[in-house]
Structure formats: structure tokens, C-alpha cells
Symmetry: C2
Subunit: 134 residues, 2 copies
Amino acid sequence: MSGFQLDPRLAGEGIPVASLELCDALLRNDARTLWVVLVPRVAGREELHELSAEQQAQLMSEIARVSQAVHDIAQPTKVNTGALGNIVRQLHVHVVARHEGDFAWPGPVWGVGEREEMDETARTDLVAALRQRL
Amino acid sequence: MSGFQLDPRLAGEGIPVASLELCDALLRNDARTLWVVLVPRVAGREELHELSAEQQAQLMSEIARVSQAVHDIAQPTKVNTGALGNIVRQLHVHVVARHEGDFAWPGPVWGVGEREEMDETARTDLVAALRQRL
């Protein structure tokens, strides 16, 4: 995993929450919904099929763990998961709480509206709730 | 896996391509890009974290296999993968070829524009190319 460096665009919009076996988990600093980004600490990967079979399985395990945590904390209508990377190419996976009627419902969240910074209380509470569950 | 029935909305927009160990793979009948949908044959699941650990690992393996096939066939700028389910709740995963400048670039494809039916030659060729690789 040498040579891995978190993309500054992901780092700049996220708060480090946990270092899992494969991935860094970041809470996206967005007051609109609970939104976690997982970034495998593997240099030079852009696509899921570029990971080894073991890394793929571990990534899915971590996605599912985050999905369960997001579900438990935010009680969403649906969890949305996506690996796009059209703008930031470093492989990363979004796990997002969606509520019926939210800012992008029922469409996807990516590219819709502007990120809104959380206030400090919300941020502290969410980081604690995620750390407890991850 | 008893009780599983493919959601008619997914079936109506897709062409069955392969029955993998866990998932049905459907080629979405959309001329705009190469777009595959994977549907785990497990009844009553809406979220990734509701699958067993074994099913999660198998699903990721099948996602990666489809991603590699989409990459090889369409030579895209990026493969996009997503499990949303805000409209069709049956758990399903999209694997989509994205080319710089395509109909939704660099945003997500979901909910953008209208599906366009493929002509028969394109459909036959893509089904054959996918079957060869899956």
C-alpha cells in the first residue's frame, strides 16, 4: 500500500472517522444528509476490478459495515452506494443516507446543489456515532 | 433463494445476459451507453448490509467481473457503479460505461434523459460480447 495518498479534494470535504482494514472512512462535511466516503488505501486504483479479489471482498465488507451504521444512525428511507470517480479518479465509494423528499430525491445526490457545512455539534455527534459503530 | 422474482421494471428494461452464481445480469436496453444491471437472486433484500457476508463477497466478485467486461468492451473513460434503489427497491447494482462528454458527463447517469432502445444489431453484438466475458 506504499505510495497511497488521500486525494486532497476528498480530504478537504471530509472528516476522518476511522481507519478500517482496507479503507479510510471519511464523514463528508455536508449538513444535508449523512454521507460517508470510503477510500481504499491502495495507490493508483481507479476501478473496482483493479483491486485484488481479497481487496474487493474486504471493500464490500467495509461498505456493508458503513451502510449498516448509516442505516442505524440516520434511519433513512434508503441507503445509496456508488463508486463514480468521473471527477476525482482515486477509487472511492460513497455511502449516503437518503430520505424520501430530501434535496435530490428520488434522483442521485452526486452533482446536485451545493455542499453545506455542518455545525460543530452535528459534526461531533455524527463522528462519535460513526466511530462507535465502525 | 426461494421467493425471488425479478422486479418487472428491471426485467422490462433489460435483456437477460447471464445467470451468475448469485446474480442475474441484465443488459439495460439503452443505446446511449453500455449499462449492465446485476440483481442478486435473494428475495426481500433492499440494502447491501442485508446480504450475508458470503453473498456480499460474491456480489462484489460479480460486480468486478462485470466492470472488467464493460471496461474491455466499451473502453470507457470510467466505469460507474451504484446501488441506489430509491425507485425500484429490489436490491440491484448498476455497472455503467462512462465516456468523457457522454449524455450525463461528469454527473451520474441515473434520472438523466430518456432511455433509448438499441437496434437489433447493437443488442445482439453486446449480448454476445458480454456472454463471452461473464
